[in-house]
Amino acid sequence: MKTYSYYPGCSQLSSAEEYGESALRVSEKLGFRLETLPDWNCCGASSAHMTNHLLALSLPGRDLAKARERGGDLVVVCAACYHNLKKAQAEILEDPSVAARVERIVGADPRFEGRIVHLLDVVAEEVGLEALKEKVVRPLEGLKPVSYYGCLMVRPRGMIENDDPDNPRLMDDLLSAMGAEVKKWSYKTDCCGGSLSLTRTDVVVKLVNRIFEAAEEADANCIVVACPMCLANLEMRQSEGRLAFRLEHDLPVFFFTELMALALGMEGPEEWFAKHLVDPRPLLYAKGLA
């Protein structure tokens, strides 16, 4: 079985546990293994690069050094981790003085020359959409998703592997291959508000509602994401709640890996769906998918 190094990212151990678990399980089902990078640390997220550039190179630098030791390619599922690791790698490999500086700080060689790939790319490359279609045992009929990449998967321009940074289509194609009726919309790569979630909730609420309204207008009945921050903001920030927690929209939000597990007829999705703040089960029951 082909094995990749795997960078889980902090969210996948906590609020987005269902993303991490479904990613691992689906990969195995598809015939490749994700082996967690030993003792990985947080990529620094927005807070590092927004306040200290050298830190934003060195925190990923320690992870890149570990990936280098292991060899091969590195698979990531969180769009923000993916973006940060890839940017740090590019700067380290491009500029020998940066590489030397990071090496001194980290105490190990950060020049990882393997590829950093998002799981979406791996599925397309390793399995291929035609072969995936044949593995589907429960077609996602009745689901009308819009795919929501969020901003960081497709930036900076030119860094994404197999997809168009202005109009990425890989997730649409993947969902279509599994029998869903994918809807078109123009909000695929809009930002959800990211790290302003706690500090300027008002701003994030505005962006999140705009995304839901656009999805509804596109006649979608769910939103599919590939980033834990996107899902968290979409589920948590439909209104500014204090004591109460109010949902303005009933469109469920899925990780693409959860729907893959469902379509592949795997055990597990029920348990993951129960963790969502917007319960997707009523929609799935109505469509005979659960």
Binding site: C10, S11, L13, S14, S15, E17, D39, W40, N41, C42, G44, A45, S46, S47, A48, H49, M50, T51, N52, H53, L54, L55, S58, L59, G61, R62, I105, V106, G107, C151, L152, V154, R155, P156, R157, P165, T189, D190, C191, G193, G194, S195, L196, L198, T199, R200, T201, V203, K206, E240, G241, R242, L243, A244, F245, R246, A274, K275, H276, L277
Partner: protein
């Protein structure tokens, strides 16, 4: 009003970010495409211009540098290949280092808590981060309803995941002080 020109800021920004705001010809694509423009006091293309004019206080004391969420839409769309988001990063770092009172009080507090969490355990633990942020910002009462829902759904892990090489992580923080 701008009544004196200085190139010092432009030079400093260029040196630190590797970007050249002077290449900006004010087409405004960054500002029209910015999803956060409604909450900004200075629009991104104006930031580029004010860097050229050396308007340090106005920029470092602006809401804009903190409201920018670094989604990089501006960078992706700049016809002259300026990494506008990188310039924003640089201005934020300069504001912090210069001890400028931030126009958005809570955002730098959040970043401090976030990085403090990584420094301590190597990874983010959501309850640790939330606790630190709530204490330091004094914003104790928002999101109580949400926290209850998340706990019920098992979305909050009370035991943090800790990196074994915590000394290595602390060393990174020590050495990366610019």
């Amino acid at each position: 009003m701008i009544n004196a020109l200085s190139t010092a800021l432009e030079k400093e920004v260029e040196e630190r970010s590797g970007e050249k705001p002077r290449l900006c010809y004010q087409c405004g694509k960054c500002s029209t495409g910015c999803l956060f423009n409604f909450a900004m006091d200075i629009l991104p293309h104006q930031v580029m211009k004010l860097v050229q004019y050396g308007q340090r206080e106005r920029l470092l004391g602006s809401h804009t540098i903190w409201i920018c969420a670094s989604c990089e839409t501006c960078t992706a769309r700049c016809p002259n290949d300026i990494d506008v988001a990188r310039v924003m990063d640089t201005l934020r770092a300069m504001a912090l280092e210069g001890g400028v009172a931030p126009a958005e009080r809570n955002i730098p507090i959040f970043h401090r808590c976030f990085l403090g969490n990584i420094q301590a355990t190597g990874r983010i633990s959501e309850p640790v981060l939330m606790g630190a942020y709530k204490t330091l910002s004094g914003d104790l009462f928002s999101d109580i309803g949400l926290a209850v829902r998340m706990l019920k759904k098992g979305k909050i892990k009370l035991i943090p995941s800790v990196v074994r090489g915590s000394r290595e992580v602390r060393r990174i923080f020590r050495e990366a002080k610019e």
